[in-house]
Symmetry: C2
């Protein structure tokens, strides 16, 4: 998941609430309720398959094999393309329809070797990770005195002290949506006041000296200076030193380099609809990750429950009226490159797009479904979600999350995402801690179940969701 998601989520919650007519949520009609009830036997077979049948722990095992085989999968790398080839082969072997890649351009940024070394007041290596799209340094690196600030306001107030310095941002963690601004804009804000590099406290509420990477955005017309994240611990230490009046000197070396755009692919698989094959229920997650950890949480989990939803329905011999389409996006971490291209290529389908769903904020214990759409549509979704009540996962919350699905919201296509107990999500996010260890087989089964049940019912109903 990239930076802007949470901010967007806030907007979407607002949007969602605006879409609800005063007087409260629309409730499903008796006809719709009965229609959803009539799917009970098939829904039960999906639930049984994924929680106690042949599909039990399958999504975890599949994701584990995938991430253990390929590790992390940075957009633009041969490793991601190999992983995409594997997914295409595997989903074909699984028996899904119309398995294919769709080309999209993504940035190629290569991290290379990198280091940050405290030289004064004492010599110590600082754990760091360069930020995606950052420029590098010369081979000898940048050696400069440090100015520690806790906010952009402080940087601006102390702008006269900033020239020639390395800016260390020790912003307090508020929330990802708020705190990520320092990662996104820290370098350009530093450059504007004449600083030579930016070291940003990792955007996380908890750390075991763990640096967290992510994308950063250079502002047009502003000098590009190197940007990296350091750990919460080191940012706090440098802040304490500065507060004591200690002179701090740091050397930053980064081989990082931007290589422009290269071709990658979104990975697509379907179960063709029996009655309305042109109408689509789209489930998704992104296959690319940062170049650290295994990308098992962000977003292996979302991609694999999307495959698993189709896989379960296919292996049960079910073929709903509408087409079920799983899309595993590329280039999400740089800002939805794959999904934007997909939208451009497919926006002519928007009248037939019943719902676009993405899971990209964890596949921990599921709680419910985030939904963006009309009040009437929400009533229908809420009715479907009653099937998740035995798992305490039937909540319906306003405002779907997802960098890769938001393009469709302009066309009033309903959207959905997975609400889950992801309180520790940002402990691991974009760090070496994003591995299979954070995933739980039973929790993943329930996420896949929720995903499959919602997708199946929406694809099987007589009517598309009202807009």
């Amino acid at each position: 998941m990239r930076m802007a998601v949470i901010l967007r989520a806030a907007v979407l919650v607002l949007l969602g609430s605006l879409l609800v007519p005063s007087g409260g949520h629309g409730a499903a009609t008796v006809e719709v309720r009965n229609e959803i009830k009539s799917m009970g036997a098939n829904v039960k077979s999906i639930i049984d398959y994924l929680t106690s049948g042949k599909g039990k722990h399958q999504v975890y095992d599949r994701l584990a094999k995938f991430t253990d085989t390929f590790g992390n999968r940075l957009a633009g790398t041969a490793n991601l393309e190999n992983a995409i080839d594997y997914m295409l082969d595997t989903m074909k072997t699984d028996g899904l329809d119309n398995v294919h890649g769709e080309r999209a351009q993504v940035p190629l940024w290569v991290r290379g070797k990198e280091s940050a070394t405290l030289l004064e007041p004492r010599n110590q290596n600082l754990a760091m990770m360069g930020l995606g799209t950052s420029v590098g340094t010369s081979a000898e690196g940048i050696t400069a005195e440090v100015l520690v600030v806790r906010s952009f306001d402080e940087l601006h107030n102390r702008s006269k002290e900033a020239r020639g310095k390395i800016i260390v941002y020790n912003q307090v963690w508020v929330s990802y949506g708020i705190s990520v601004a320092y990662r996104s804009h820290g370098a350009s804000e530093a450059a504007k006041v004449g600083a030579v590099a930016a070291l940003i406290r990792s955007v996380t509420p908890f750390s075991i000296n763990s640096p967290h990477t992510g994308v950063q955005d250079y502002e047009d017309g502003v000098e590009k200076v190197p940007a990296a994240c350091i750990t919460v611990e080191d940012a706090e230490m440098l802040d304490r030193m500065a507060t004591r009046g200690t002179k701090i000197v740091v050397n930053v070396k980064m081989e990082a380099k931007n290589h422009g755009l290269v071709w990658s692919r979104n990975t697509v698989a379907e179960i063709k609809g029996s009655t309305y094959p042109d109408q689509v229920v789209l489930v998704s997650g992104h296959l690319d990750s940062w170049d650290v950890g295994q990308g098992a949480m962000d977003d292996g989990g979302g991609a694999f429950i999307s495959w698993q939803a189709l896989s379960a329905i296919h292996h049960l011999g079910l073929r709903p009226k509408r087409t079920l389409r799983a899309v595993l996006w590329t280039g999400e971490e740089y800002g939805g490159y794959g999904s934007q291209k997909y939208y451009e290529d497919h926006q002519n389908e928007s009248n037939n797009m019943n719902i676009v769903m993405e899971s990209d904020i964890g596949t921990f214990q599921p709680v419910g479904f985030r939904f963006t759409g009309s009040s009437k549509a929400k009533g229908i979704v809420s009715e479907i979600m009653q099937y998740m009540q035995p798992f305490n996962a039937s909540k319906v919350i306003d405002g779907a999350d997802g960098t890769d699905i938001e393009w469709w919201f302009n066309k009033h296509v309903p959207g959905g995402s997975l609400e889950n107990q992801n309180e520790k999500y940002f402990y691991y996010h974009h760090s070496n801690g994003d591995t299979m260890t954070v995933q739980d087989p039973t929790e993943m089964d329930l996420c896949a179940t929720l995903w499959a049940v919602v997708a199946y019912c929406l694809a099987e109903m007589d009517e598309m969701l009202p807009r």
Copy 2:
């Protein structure tokens, strides 16, 4: 804190309960209660000084300055000796009595450069940390196939597969006291079945791909093979790969080297007793740490609340009847080298040693006091601990913890340690996450308060604790 503490704690709890006569805990006599009550004004001045007066946040600030200045402090290094010099100077400047170092020999082990690299099924760096006292490898390292086991039993059952292999232990976390056996004995157990190195899952209940070091013990007469910890995440990944039947090959390089014993010092400061200067209340923590993180938790916190207790009492102009002695041990992490020498040199004082106290399991929110001693003595301590009731920290629990104080228990000297909310202690323990970030100024004030109140009252009472 080193490995054996928790096991010892279990024994001490047992011992503690044996010391309690049937019929329950001894209660303090009315005279003793009145005597403790009569100290109320002085105790209040100590509490006020440390929680809202001149001493507020002082222990945190002092520890932060110390750890930011010296970083971690491995026994045997010049850095630890410089840190000891700093402490001697600083405690003299603080006005304490009889500030001096007492020589003790400690091991010198130098980590050097080290790496573990997965070569098959794919190339990937594994985060690792060599274990203290481990031998190193040749410059090209050891390259061998991996055998993953989850227990010593499994290793023994599969001993025929072990020859020439690198053993990866993926033991489940049970508790530190139980799980640490793999760190302590993993190398020798591996060598006994012909393996060439041991990689042990870090002994922690939680990880962000964080390796945790610590000491290991070679068994006499068994070949010494290199031993290192890897992360929970990587141990689990290798286990999954092995379970799938994948061939795993790893290269381990370690420059680690043992250089025998070198001289270090225990750091001592006192407030000489006004009436019984030969009788001693000893408070302590250890100043050495592992060579990672800042050693702020293990055991900067314990060392600094011990200084702080004396500092507060001194600056309030209080001088209790008995001598208060703070000892900051050296060489604890290798197994109480400093404290053993201290005991050998001072055991003639054991009849005058009123209590030996050590804080070495965290200085988080305090809960109470762990005590080893007679039932009657426990009654007195419990009465004193009533002063901590306003802070919900008045519990008295059987069985004091502390590698450095246990030597005295053979002589029936009572012992005490700090019970605190240290549920996350092993998240950080012996890792780069052991920094000032885990410390909280207010919590540290309360720990220092508890430490000072107990020490002051025991030093001020007419009688020594009954044995």
